[in-house]
Structures are given as structure tokens and as C-alpha cells.
Amino acid sequence: MFETPDDRKYQESHEYATTDGEPVTVGISDFAQDELGDIVFVELPEAGDEMSQGEEFGVIESIKAVSDLYVPVSGVVSAVNDALFDQPELVNESPYDEGWMLKLEDVDDAELAELLTADEYSEQTE
């Protein structure tokens, strides 16, 4: 029902991290954007910020709820998706592509390996 591409890994709080090398792209899953409903506001950190796994990196607000966003793998923020500030709906329309949130470098590969695979994450959301 929901897209869960296997070129990335997931954590229980619904953020994904891509696995095709650095920079690692972080965003939220298709399931998560659907649960949240129409997204109206996204707050993100600044490029250069160092983040550890599990740390809050931002806030996402939909017409239903406000939720914290958690970093799936430790790393340094090399870019954030500025387009989301004016077009938060990109997260609804294209969670895995245009709706990305962070690019991370100097990522902890061991943490990345430990995250849920697409299959494991899909089971969790069924």
C-alpha cells in the first residue's frame, strides 16, 4: 500500500536514511507522511550542525499533529532542503525525492547498518 523503497533504511520513528554512499539523504517515509496528513510546516537544522543518532533534528507540523523528527544516523549536516520552508507539501507529494530533509556526511556506517531494512520497516507499519 505504501511505498518503501529498498535503497534506504528506516527507523521505528519513521525517518529513512539512504544507503548509496555519502551524502546520506534523510527524510520521512511514505507511511509517515500519510499518517500525518497535510503537512503545513517543517523546521530543520542548519548546515554544519553535528547530529547524533536519536537526536531531534527538527519539527514537522500537519493539520492533525506536531511531531519531532529524529536523526536516524549520526553525522554532520551538509545541506537541508530549503524548498520545504515554502512548500511543505513536497513531503506529502514526494517523501523519498523532492521532499527530502537533510543530507548527512561523516556518517556512522555501523549505525546505518543497524537500521531496519525496507522489509522489516514494512512489517512494522502493517
Binding site: D38, V40, F41, E61, I63, K64, P88, E89
Partner: protein, 472 residues
Amino acid sequence: MNHDQARYGDDDRYEPLLSETGTKTVDVSEESPLPDGLTREELELPTSSEPELSRHYTRLSQMNWSVETGPYPLGSCTMKYNPSFTEDVAADPNAAVHPERSEETIQGTLELLAGLQDYLARIGGMDAVTLQPPAGAAGEFTGIHVAKAYHESRNDDRSEVIVPASAHGTNFASAAMAGYDVVELPSGEDGRVDLDALEAAVSEETAALMLTNPNTVGLFERDIVEISEMVHDAGGLLYYDGANLNALLGRARPGDMGFDVMHYNVHKTFATPHGGGGPGAGPVGVREELAEFLPRPRVREQDGQYELYDPERSIGKVHGYQGNWLVLVKAYAYIARLGDSGLEDASAKAVLNANYLAEQMEYDIPYGPFHHEFAATAGDRDAADVAKRMLDYGVHPPTTKWPEFVPEAMLTEPTEAEDKTSLDDLAAAFNGAISDSEEELANAPSKTTAQRIDQATAARNPRLSWHALDEQ
């Protein structure tokens, strides 16, 4: 009974702005003592006649929902009918007293304030009351600051306030604004405070636990005595959020349950108008040991004379003078008119009405037995859609999707003010809306003045002033 709203104009234009019904340009380029940047050469003024002006505002008022036009069971908000006689009392010229007048000339005003303090203290089981905070949330802010001042006076440095996950959002905000770290307490399986979770959360860092009782889904915290002992044994204080006091009037008192500080929502419990950001009142009551920290000035009686005085260790002022005086006059009038037996009757009927309504509703209500309010669930329907559909049945819907631990929650509180016919109307609206088709729900409301609102666009591109109209 039908409570449909008035509708005017075509589908997307409900009522023209005054400026759209005719204006004239007036030359105002006379000499002005104001700087150039603050003056204009000409003004555009509406030209509506007085009757048209009156009709314009009457139409606008008819497009709105209020407890004056139909039942309004917004859970947790206690949307009581505000009896008109309290407005008469507040409008009495004798109530219009300038607060700067000398004490000897405002003995009546001070007597009323002292009398209201005594009423509230007796109702809450508290020793001292301040009437100054201008709203419920301001009361919380004041109460937590009083608790903080108490701890500090004992050189007892504490950093945390415990708040149940189901608490009103203002509890978290008030604790944080007073400089505390907020420790969130998960709800137990029965919807009440989980004593094991509380045991784990309480420590020597605990400044206070904030609770409402009955809680957000109308359940009485049966373990309140144990809860009180756990918090007090750790040196913390117990704070009572007066949001749900309407269920207890004349039957149980927060002070007797062990609470040390509380605020009263006079707009809920004592039928003053809900401020909507306007003037309100959120008096705070405390135990004797905390009285010296209350905001200044305070009112007291000395040898038959009423006077204002500043407690030495007061946290200071939280509002001008004695708060929003006319709101306090209305609360006083309401309490005095009902008296002991009337207040007791109000809480009994509030509980009876909630339970009668729930019996008539074809909804699952996961937590009970409840008092003055209950959280029904819309099940596999979207609670917000069901609520919007209820507007088409001519009633105001309940609070939706809160508290979050009840799936698709419809938090319902009819209050004591509704009679059986109104409650039956409400039940019919609940039952009709939940069994309507997906399409009817998705397009609701269709009979109101303003129909389905595009919430996402409104939140993404808010228009926050009339200037936005020029950008259309």
C-alpha cells in the same frame, strides 16, 4: 429542533465587507501635529446607513456558533450557558469603580473581592485565594510561580514538574515558562495515573505534579490520596488544574484531596463568558504555607474595614489591580445566586447529563465510569469529519482527536445547562453523523454559512489581517 445557521449571499461570499457596500473619500489633509509618516491626505470611509450597519453585524453574529444558538458540547471547555442576570449585575453603574480610588471609598468593591476569595477558598478547600490572574493559563503560570517561590524560600532547589501525557497543553507550557523541565507521565491502561510510572517519575527534583481531577476523560483519580502522599513524601507540591472542577462542586474539594495549589477557571465553572483571548479570570488558591507568595496587592478585612496590602514575599503582580474586575463580578453573582445547594445541583446535573447523553449515543466509550465528560471514539471514521458533519445536524460538535490516547476521540461535555430535549438533539446528531456516507462526511459541513474549510491551505498561507484582502 433546528439550530441551522443563517446563510446570506452566494456560495463563496457570505457577507460583503462594509467597505464593499459603498464608500466615500474624505479629505483629511488639515494641519496635524503628528509627524508626516503617521498622517494621511484622505480616508476612505464606509457610507452604510445605521440600520444597514446594524443588520451587517447582526448577520455576522448569526453566522457564528454559540451556546446562545444551540448545544455546544466541547469537551474539556465546559461551554456553560452564561446566565444573563450576571451581565445585568456587571452593567450596574455601581460596579463601575475606578481602581485608583482610595480604599475608604471602594469598600463595596473590596468586600465583593474578599467575598469571592472566601467563596472560592471554601469551594476548593484552600486557605487563601488571589483573583488577579486574567485567565486560566495565567492562573497556572501564577500557581507554578508561587510553588517555585515556596521551594526557593526553603533553599530547596528543584528542577522538574511532572505532567500527565493527557493534561491540557497549557500545563506543559506553564511549567516550562516557570523554568522547569517537564516530565511527562504516561496514562495507565485504565486511563488514570499509573502509580508505578509516577513512582518512577517522582524524585527530589520534583517541584510539583500537575493534575486535573476528574481527569481529561472524566475519570476520577481514585488513587489521589496515594498520589498525594508520593509527591509530598518527595518534597513536591500537588497542583490542581481547575478545568474539571464543574464535576465536583459541593461534593469533593481539591484541598481535601491533598492539593496545595489550584487555579479556578471561572469561565468554565462559574459561567462567566469564555474570553476567546479577551478579559477572563483564573483565580489561584493555595494552602496557608503558600499564601505569603501570592500576587500583590491582596485584599483583607481588618476591624470591619477592607484594605489592600502587599505580602512581603509576594511573587509580584501578574496583572493590573485586582484582575478583570467585571468578570469577577459575574462569577460572584453566579455563585451567590446558586448558593451551596445550587452549586451542588449543578455538578450533579453536569454528571447526569454527560451520562444520559452517552447512553443515547451509539459510540464506543473506552474509559469509564466518567463524570461530567467522556471520550467517545469515532472508531474507523475520522473524528474531524464526523464533527464537521454534526454541524449539518445543527449542533456544535465536541472536541476532536484529543486526548490522543483515545483513538479518533470525540471528547464530549454537554454541561448541566442542557435539558433533555437538547441532549436528545445532540445524541441524534452524533448518531446521524457517524452513520452517514463517506461522501457526506468528506463534504461536510454543507449547511453552514462557511462550508468545508481548506485547512491545509489556511495553515500554509495564513491571511492574518485585512491587508491580505488586497492581495486577492
